[in-house]
């Protein structure tokens, strides 16, 4: 997978890759798992918002067009949204968050960006699925794009920048931004996030806010 191909990755793919460091053989998380799950769930919803399939209205997810979907995964989610009773954003985030990591990981695997490995646990039955970046250097390009966005260097408004903006806002909502920005840039980055927040389409803006609340709520209700 080369640099150009990374340009066409969907929002959830980009967020997935951003959540991990890519400087070793095995990618390591920068964000706690609950944050990754909820962030990916929000990213999957945002993909369908960007394509015009979904709207967020007063905290509820409103399917507009079941035919719309960026890919098979997007269409599966749209079908769920259309078939089920109306639920609020938080319920959908919680529901999709249960499987979002695996769904997006598999999609990245299908796109050739990741390979899946299994790590044996100490006890039988504790093996864990892990993903490994095929081309760690290319994955860092995404990080560079989002960092340049957060440092205020973006200009104009294009579809691909909308994806980058959404990823940047999700990084802020889930707390990932703290691991991305070095101290010197945090203040600039946060100010930029505030600006971006008001430039996002309104449903995405709402989705980001609900994701932020869901991640915060997970902190309060933390249990093991």
């Amino acid at each position: 997978m080369n640099h150009d191909q990374f340009e066409v990755l969907d929002i959830a793919d980009r967020f997935f890759l951003m959540c991990y460091t890519h400087d070793g053989d095995v990618i390591k998380p920068r964000l706690h798992q609950r944050g990754i799950d909820l962030g990916l769930a929000a990213a999957l919803l945002s993909e369908n918002i960007v394509t015009g399939g979904l709207d967020i209205y007063d905290g509820y997810v409103v399917p507009l067009n079941p035919q719309v979907g960026t890919d098979q995964l997007g269409r599966i989610i749209m079908q769920d949204l259309v078939r089920e009773e109306p639920h609020d954003v938080r319920t959908w985030l919680e529901y999709l968050g249960q499987t979002s990591w695996r769904m997006v990981g598999n999609r990245l695997q299908a796109k050739g960006a990741l390979v899946r490995t299994r790590k044996r646990g100490i006890l039988p039955g504790t093996a864990k699925t892990r993903y490994q970046t095929v081309d760690p250097e290319s994955a860092l390009v995404l990080e560079a794009i989002v960092l340049s966005l957060l440092s205020g260097e973006y200009s104009g408004q294009s579809t691909s920048e909308l994806a980058d903006m959404t990823v940047a806002m999700l990084a802020q909502a889930t707390g990932l931004i703290a691991s991305l920005l070095w101290d010197d840039y945090r203040r600039v980055g946060r100010a930029q996030v505030d600006r971006l927040s008001h430039s996002l389409p309104y449903p995405l803006h709402q989705l980001i806010r609900h994701t932020e609340a869901a991640v915060a709520s997970a902190t309060i209700h933390h249990r093991r």
Partner: protein, 776 residues
């Protein structure tokens, strides 16, 4: 055709839900039976000189059971349940809520501090007694502090299974001790003296009750899990009752058994000598030393588990308040890698270190001073919170009746509230003897007063937020659930991205649903009103009912410079294609504190979202059928409707699906407004001023006056009269300056504000005041 809708989502999520047993374990683990019986109870026997603790546990359990009825019932209706200040906010208002939150922060921050003394002293005593190693208590406390701080930042909780095993072991040990004690009474026969209700008719009853209450701390956490419970209606209630009853019976039995084994007449003296070792020393006469050691180790782990639990409760309190910006926003941040409430946890740890250093430096006793006094101090705060929570439950259900039975919404909370208040009064009366300090000691009055000071500061802060930070004020009580969304309309960004043109590369985002073809006739014409106490002191030139008057929320940290004044050429009439969102946000921000809106949406938690949703519908309809005058940068807007004659009658959005989805209560109240106002409406053709709003940051600059007089000039030119309903008498006098005259009787809403109909015949331009003269 779509398949029949399934309930797959809830079924899938239910697999991860908590059942009754899980919640009971989580809640009781904070109560730590061995800590309560072996440490708190024995020190209390010594400090108070009373033996009635066993009966006090039963009495407090009964009071808390009754309290829990209303508490649990309300937890089903509120987000962020489990934080007591949330209940106060939604029952008694946001200012009182902030006041309660300050008391809560103080009380819950002190509780983990007390346990550093407890765990340090008990561990040091154990090491010296069993291994002969003498270690100062503060050194152990510091080591424990390092562990707690690390675990807090790394977000390592005790695994719930580990907690369950520890809890069951503790309970079994305690029950075994009880069996042995009851089998070996000191004078040969079992004495029921400590269980006699007569023990409570003593001067020290308050101290007994509050000490007993300390043992139950943590039970209020059950409601935190209401959203995660398998069956929110049943699970939380059952778990709470089981936890309270279980703790009450176990503690009562155990402390009574201890008095039986030592003898009711000897227990006070023995507790003074042996302190936390009393139970183990007495037990050592009958049980093997290995068993006593196991008991001791469990005692230490129980102290540690309670410490972790209280540390987490306190740091989550700070986190929740930081999230909603009542406390510094930094406290609401989490660590990215672990998701821990990083700064909240560090803040509590910082206090812990300070407490250890202060108590060790002053040479105070870790048990009698640090553990016991600090724990009693924190407990007093929680007791105050519970008492006010009871009354908040009643107030909340008074505004939201028909959702629970009278027993749950009025009777039980009233009984619970009265008893908790009685306990509180008794405690305050005997606070000196409770702490075991000499009469006249400064702490005897300083500690209770500190909570009053905290409450006062909280109320002042709440008022400050109301007046200066409406965006923060709106979210108070929501904690982690708060969707922190500044109500700042930024038309430039809005129009670029979510406005008419849509976003480049994606289809235009629709402005929610179009208004239905027909609405029933309900009118809600009204200017935004200021809070009543300030209504009579409007400065000259201030627009009545305009946000921007004293008491209305000033700017919510505007993100763009607001034009210093408005000239008429910046006022434009909005086209039907205009975006709804910036206007709806403007109206919601301006009307948020309006007394009519407060009456329409009494539920505090709903106010933010419902208010915005309501104004979305209002603006949609106004753009379609009314006239919307907008200041160019969306800093002000007025909604007019041509009424009567050939015009369709003004028909606000009572049956819009959006309103129905928002709140059935709102629909019902809009009906009441309609019935109250329809008779007063003039039949003659006129223009009706339904809403006028100025963004909080642009108030006090005459924008409202300009906005309205601009339209009045056009109406004068067209010869059309105008009508409005003023929110109060002060507003009336100011409308009179624009040429309006009172007409007919005031309109009263049931249990709500009054409105004053005013009529203005078409004037010649000269009839306007000098300041309203056209500038050309």
């Amino acid at each position: 055709m779509l398949e029949y809708r399934s309930d797959k989502i809830f079924r899938t999520l239910a697999g991860n839900r908590l059942d009754v047993a899980a919640i009971v374990f989580i809640v009781i683990s904070a109560a730590a039976p061995l800590t309560a019986i072996s440490a708190v109870a024995t020190i209390a026997f010594a400090a108070t000189g009373e033996i009635g603790l066993p009966i006090a546990y039963l009495v407090v359990a009964a009071v808390l059971m009754v309290f829990a009825v209303g508490y649990v019932a309300m937890s089903r209706h509120v987000a962020n349940s489990g934080a007591l200040y949330t209940y106060v906010t939604r029952g008694l208002g946001r200012v009182t809520g902030v006041s309660a939150s300050f008391v809560a922060v103080l009380a819950y921050s002190v509780l983990p501090l007390s346990l550093y003394g407890g765990v340090g002293a008990v561990f040091a005593g154990f090491l010296e007694g069993r291994l002969g190693i003498s270690v100062p208590w503060w050194l152990i406390a510091l080591l424990v502090w390092v562990v707690v701080t690390t675990l807090g930042v790394l977000r390592v909780d005790f695994n719930s299974r580990v907690l369950a095993v520890l809890l069951i072991s503790e309970t079994l040990v305690v029950l075994l001790f009880d069996l042995v004690f009851l089998g070996n009474p000191s004078d040969g026969s079992i004495s029921f003296a400590a269980l006699s209700p007569g023990e409570l008719i003593s001067p020290g009853v308050g101290t007994l009750l509050v000490t007993a209450f300390l043992g139950f701390l943590g039970f209020e956490g059950s409601a935190v899990y209401s959203e995660e419970a398998r069956d929110p209606k049943r699970t939380i209630a059952l778990a709470t009752y089981i936890a309270i009853a279980g703790v009450g019976i176990l503690y009562s039995l155990s402390t009574w058994a201890l008095t039986v084994a030592v003898g009711p007449e000897n227990i006070v003296a023995a507790a003074g000598t042996d302190q936390t070792d009393l139970m183990f020393n007495v037990g050592a006469n009958y049980l093997g030393s290995a068993f006593i050691d196991v008991g001791h180790v469990l005692f230490i782990t129980s102290l540690f588990a309670a410490l972790i639990s209280f540390h987490n409760t306190a740091s989550r309190y700070l986190f929740a308040l930081g999230r909603e910006r009542v406390l510094p926003a930094k406290l609401g941040q989490t660590s990215g890698r672990t998701g821990a409430p990083y700064y909240g946890s560090l803040a509590i740890s910082g206090l812990g270190l300070l407490a250890i250093v202060l108590f060790a430096g002053a040479g105070l006793d870790p048990l009698a001073d640090m553990f016991y006094i600090l724990a009693q101090y924190g407990t007093l705060g929680v007791l105050m919170l519970l008492a006010i929570t009871s009354f908040s439950v009643i107030a909340y259900f008074r505004r939201n009746p028909n959702t629970e039975t009278p027993w749950r919404r009025v009777v039980a909370p009233a009984i619970g509230g009265v008893f908790l208040t009685v306990i509180l009064v008794l405690v305050l009366d005997q606070y000196g003897s409770l702490l075991g300090l000499p009469p006249g000691h400064v702490l005897n009055w300083l500690l209770p007063v500190s909570f009053v000071v905290a409450a006062g500061l909280g109320a002042l802060w709440g008022l400050h937020l109301r007046n200066n930070r409406p965006d923060v004020y709106r979210n108070i009580g929501l904690g982690a659930e708060s969707v922190v969304e500044p109500l700042v309309p930024d038309p430039s960004a809005a129009e670029q991205s979510w406005g008419r043109t849509g976003y480049p590369g994606i289809p235009p985002v629709r402005d929610a649903t179009p208004p239905p073809a027909s609405f029933p006739q309900v009118a809600l014409p009204r200017m935004a009103a200021p809070p009543s106490p300030l209504q009579s002191s409007l400065p000259p030139g201030m627009m009545p009912g305009m946000p921007g008057m004293p008491g209305m929320p000033p700017p919510a940290a505007p993100r763009r410079p607001v034009s210093p004044s408005v000239s008429r050429d910046r006022i434009i009439e909005a086209q039907p294609t205009y975006s709804v969102e910036p206007l709806a946000h403007l109206m919601a921000a301006a009307y948020f504190s309006d007394s009519l809106v407060q009456w329409l949406i009494p539920d505090i938690q709903e106010q933010g979202q419902v208010c915005l949703g309501f104004f979305r519908t209002v603006v949609q309809q106004a753009l379609a059928t009314g006239m919307v005058d907008v200041v160019g940068d969306y800093s002000g807007a007025a909604i007019w409707y041509p009424v009567g004659g050939n015009q369709p009658v003004f028909t606000p959005p009572r049956q819009s699906p959006a309103i129905g989805q928002l709140s059935a209560n709102l629909q019902w109240r809009l009906d009441l407004v309609h019935h109250a106002t329809e008779q007063a409406r003039p039949a003659e053709a006129h223009h009706f001023l339904a809403f006028a709003a100025v963004w909080p940051g642009a108030q006090r600059r005459g924008m409202g006056t300009t906005l309205i007089s601009d339209r009045l000039q056009k109406l004068d030119a067209a010869g059309s009269p105008a009508y409005l309903e003023a929110p109060n008498e002060a507003a009336m006098s100011l409308y009179q300056r624009l040429g309006f005259q009172p007409q007919g009787k005031p309109i009263s809403l049931p249990n709500g504000p009054s409105m004053y109909p005013m009529w203005r015949t078409a004037h010649k331009p000269a009839a306007l005041g000098r300041e309203q003269q056209p500038s050309w």
